[in-house]
């Protein structure tokens, strides 16, 4: 008989192995699902995981990869602080939208002034403030009224969604757009454009910010008392209170960090790859980042790798839709499976399986 036995200490090896095993299992099960859909499994997997990096059109895919990984990593890093502390901000998508609206709003307010040195930094700040303010709503409600931040932050995504619609049709609509919805395209406004720093690489300021955030998060979590308090609060809330961690302040700080980073990601996106405020601006980065955060073990380096992997499935998935006719939902299923299997495999970090001989009757 198989029994689960709690390990005296969490297994170090499994902590690192679990994401890899989850990826492999996802490939196998995903391949089986694709086969059942009548698609060649090996080719599907290769199209998703291999072709964007080394395939025929990799030169076109690689910059896209970087552009997709940037926001995912940035948002996931912000979320990881809260997740470690047991504060569940599920509404990064909404904070991402608000960051984009604030950032674009600032840019459009200055249009057509030529002053990149002023406008672009202001946009970054505005994007962070926008996301942070949006995240403060569930944060403050939790602190003041003990509401559930999961529900409030999630519901605010839909509010932000409507805000985005309203902005693209109203306040921020392009006055020279012949009545079409959507703001001016920031890609055509040099002072606000967040373009590739080196042409054709996809490397824009948002990617730099994400890499910078990886380093800062790593230092904060492993070397600073703040990171210690975050981990402590997540593992043992009572011990954290005894140690002197102010639980309410921690909620606000963690919500603030995740909101600010999601907002910044939104701003870098709207000023760069996306270009304009439009109701189809958001594509679910805020939700995918949750998977990225967990797939990366809430560890900054892990998140960086997981963000790249997730970006890969996005790009590869799109290619698979085009070339193999895989349905979009099959690709989303594939991404969901990654998290599903990770959580399942995670069990082995804290437990081990033992074969116990069944007593002869």
């Amino acid at each position: 008989m198989l029994t689960l036995e709690k390990r005296p200490q969490p297994s170090q090896a499994w902590t690192y192995l679990a994401p890899l095993v989850a990826v492999v299992v996802t490939m196998i099960v995903g391949g089986a699902v694709f086969a059942m859909l009548g698609k060649p499994p090996l080719e599907s997997i290769r199209t998703i995981f291999w072709d964007p990096l080394f395939g025929e059109f990799a030169a076109f895919d690689r910059p896209e990869l970087v552009k997709k990984a940037g926001p995912l990593v940035l948002i996931a890093l912000g979320l990881s602080f809260g997740f470690r502390a047991g504060i569940w901000n599920i509404g990064a998508e909404g904070q991402y939208i608000m960051g984009a609206i604030f950032g674009a709003g600032i840019a459009l307010a200055f249009y057509p002034m030529e002053a990149r040195w002023l406008i672009f930094p202001l946009m970054i700040i505005a994007g962070m403030v926008g996301g942070m303010l949006w995240a403060m709503i569930p944060g403050l409600l939790k602190v003041k009224f003990k509401t559930n931040e999961i529900l409030v932050s999630l519901m605010l995504v839909y509010v932000a969604d409507f805000m985005l619609d309203s902005m693209s049709l109203g306040l921020l609509r392009n006055p020279e757009g012949h009545g079409f919805p959507g703001s001016r395209n920031l890609q055509q406004y040099a002072s606000a454009y967040n373009g590739d720093l080196i042409a054709g690489t996809g490397l824009h300021w948002g990617v730099i910010a994400a890499l910078f955030a990886v380093v800062v998060s790593y230092i904060a979590l492993s070397r600073h008392i703040f990171g210690f308090n975050v981990r402590l609060a997540g593992q043992s809330p009572r011990a954290a209170a005894f140690s002197g961690v102010n639980a309410n302040r921690l909620v606000l700080v963690c919500m603030g960090i995740s909101g600010a980073l999601a907002g910044a990601a939104g701003m870098f996106e709207v000023a760069g790859p996306s270009g304009q405020i439009l109701s189809s601006f958001n594509v679910g980065y805020g939700f995918t980042a949750i998977i990225v955060a967990f797939l990366g073990r809430l560890h900054p380096i892990g998140i960086l790798l997981a963000g790249c992997l997730m970006a890969l499935t996005y790009i590869g998935g799109e290619t698979a839709q085009l070339t193999l006719g895989l349905p979009r939902s099959a690709v989303q299923l594939f991404q969901g499976m990654l998290l599903f299997f990770l959580l399942a495999v995670d069990l082995f970090t804290n437990f081990r399986i033992r074969l116990t001989a069944k007593e002869a009757a």
Partner: protein
């Protein structure tokens, strides 16, 4: 027919790197209270787990009432009439008492019937317990009652009790002993594990002593002195804590005056008008049954719970509004009762647990808040060495340590910060005799160095041994402290019960 209930012969169980039981043989008679004695790590737990079907022995056999007995799982053991009260509770916090008990039963009756039976048993055996209370809100003492009643409901032939009395008052211990004696008269055998030798002498007629997995002796506790038994157990001469020569009355360091605070949660205890002064160099012992405001008092002193200005002052300055780290900086250190998850974070390493309270006083962080991990490691290792914490190293997670070792670490961590006020709740609960003696000695040493120490405990022998003055908590009120020397058990019982004259005196104060 035989009057032997359970016979163990040649039981051996080895784990990688350690032999937990080596050729253990003894027998338990019907209607006998049999003591199992040994330090932590002596193999008692493995042995009782074997009897209870949780561990399968490598070699050796057991016979129950003449028939071979090889329980493959606790359910089989329970079906054969063996019940066990664990030292560590296996209760679900989110469920109420009756639901928790129903979970351990094969065919639980209807909730209403079960609740009634729980009330009956709890009244019969003097273990007050409301079946509708949620376990998460119960104190350690009350949780243990749930476990005891859970077993009694099974009508066992053999009842295994692991340290059952550590959270009871002398009166309650007497009632429990009456219960156990009654069970014995009804023919139930009891395997009784305890470190409290006086208890064993009062209750048990046979004792088996384990050391390092082997049976090192048997005796009749009624005719053997506690000291002799203890020495058999540790295999060395026992170190009895000595009180240092009482220094001249020190200055008042900590003054609590009129401390009142509402209960922090629904089932907490409100603190009511507590006033007491603690002087440098003295140990104030506070007794009382669990759930009478101990946790709240510790929280109010440690800074986890804020109080109104003037209620708590340290060297004349009001500190009731300060958060924990500011109090530590001032010189107040505390060690709460629950080691895992309150005093220490179970999944964190000992180094990280050293940072948990040591960050401020030991300067384990720099001015910008970066942790000095090397210094933290040194501090953790100092604690481990000074307090003889048995662990493979400071990198080990706190939960991997045995209760006694973690307790030594937690108390050592506070003492080594050289606080001027030290508050400890339940310093030796679930800790073996040798470790308990060294913890008590460390507390006395700390007082001798000039710290004002408050020890909250339910173990009255312990309090009498180390306290200079004694007070009792009862429903959130603290009796007027009295010199511990010369107090009789009867007087203490009255104080614990919140006798009327003391309340009046207290209100007047």
């Amino acid at each position: 027919m035989t009057d032997t209930l359970l016979e163990l012969s040649g039981l051996t169980k080895a784990y990688p790197g350690v032999v937990a039981n080596s050729d253990v043989s003894f027998s338990i008679k019907k209607g006998e209270v049999h003591a199992l004695l040994g330090e932590n790590g002596a193999g008692k737990s493995t042995l009782v787990k074997t009897i209870y079907g949780l561990v399968k022995p490598d070699t050796g056999t057991m016979t129950l009432e003449g028939a071979s007995f090889q329980p493959s799982e606790p359910r089989a053991a329970r079906a054969s009439g063996i019940a066990m009260v664990f030292q560590h509770f296996s209760l679900f916090d989110a469920l109420n008492v009756a639901e928790n008990i129903a979970l351990g039963m094969e065919n639980p009756p209807k909730m209403g019937d079960l609740a009634r039976r729980i009330r009956e048993v709890s009244e019969t055996y003097g273990l007050p317990l409301d079946p509708d209370r949620v376990v998460g809100d119960l104190s350690a003492g009350e949780r243990q009652r749930v476990e005891i009643i859970r077993c009694l409901l099974q009508d066992p032939k053999l009842l295994i009790m692991d340290e059952p009395t550590s959270v009871l008052t002398p009166q309650e211990v007497e009632i429990l002993f009456e219960t156990l004696r009654k069970l014995r008269a009804e023919g139930t055998s009891i395997l009784y594990i305890s470190h409290k030798l006086e208890e064993i002498r009062a209750l048990c007629e046979h004792a088996t002593i384990l050391r390092l997995g082997k049976v090192v002796g048997t005796c009749d506790p009624r005719e053997t002195s506690a000291r002799d038994m203890a020495e058999m157990m540790v295999g060395a001469t026992l170190h009895v804590p000595e009180k240092a020569d009482k220094a001249q009355e020190g200055d008042v360091v900590l003054a609590i005056s009129g401390l009142s605070a509402p209960a922090p949660h629904q089932f907490g205890t409100a603190l009511k008008d507590i006033s007491v002064e603690v002087r440098a160099g003295e140990v104030l012992g506070i007794g009382g049954v669990a759930g009478n405001g101990q946790d709240e008092l510790v929280a109010a002193l440690s800074g986890e719970m804020k109080t109104k200005p003037g209620m708590i002052s340290f060297k004349g300055n009001s500190v009731g509004h300060l958060p924990p780290n500011a109090r530590r900086k001032a010189g107040i250190a505390a060690a709460p009762e629950e080691r895992n998850g309150h005093a220490a974070a179970p999944d964190m390493s000992l180094v990280e647990n050293a940072v948990l309270t040591g960050a401020v006083r030991m300067e384990l962080t720099d001015d910008r808040g970066f942790v000095r991990w090397a210094k933290a490691k040194d501090f953790a290792e100092q604690v481990i060495e000074t307090f003889d914490v048995r662990t493979p190293g400071s990198h080990v997670a706190a939960r991997a340590l045995s209760g006694g070792n973690l307790q030594k670490f937690v108390i050592g961590r506070e003492i080594m910060q050289r606080p001027e006020v030290l508050i400890i709740n339940q310093p030796t609960w679930g800790v073996d005799a040798a470790a308990a003696a060294s913890i008590r000695q460390a507390i006395l040493d700390e007082a001798a160095e000039g710290a004002a120490v408050i020890v909250i405990s339910q173990d009255l022998d312990e309090l009498m041994e180390i306290s200079d003055r004694f007070a009792a908590l009862n429903e959130g009120r603290l009796s007027a402290p009295r010199p511990a020397k010369g107090l009789t058990i009867k007087e203490i019982g009255l104080m614990l019960g919140g006798a009327h004259d003391m309340e009046v005196a207290h209100v007047d104060a």
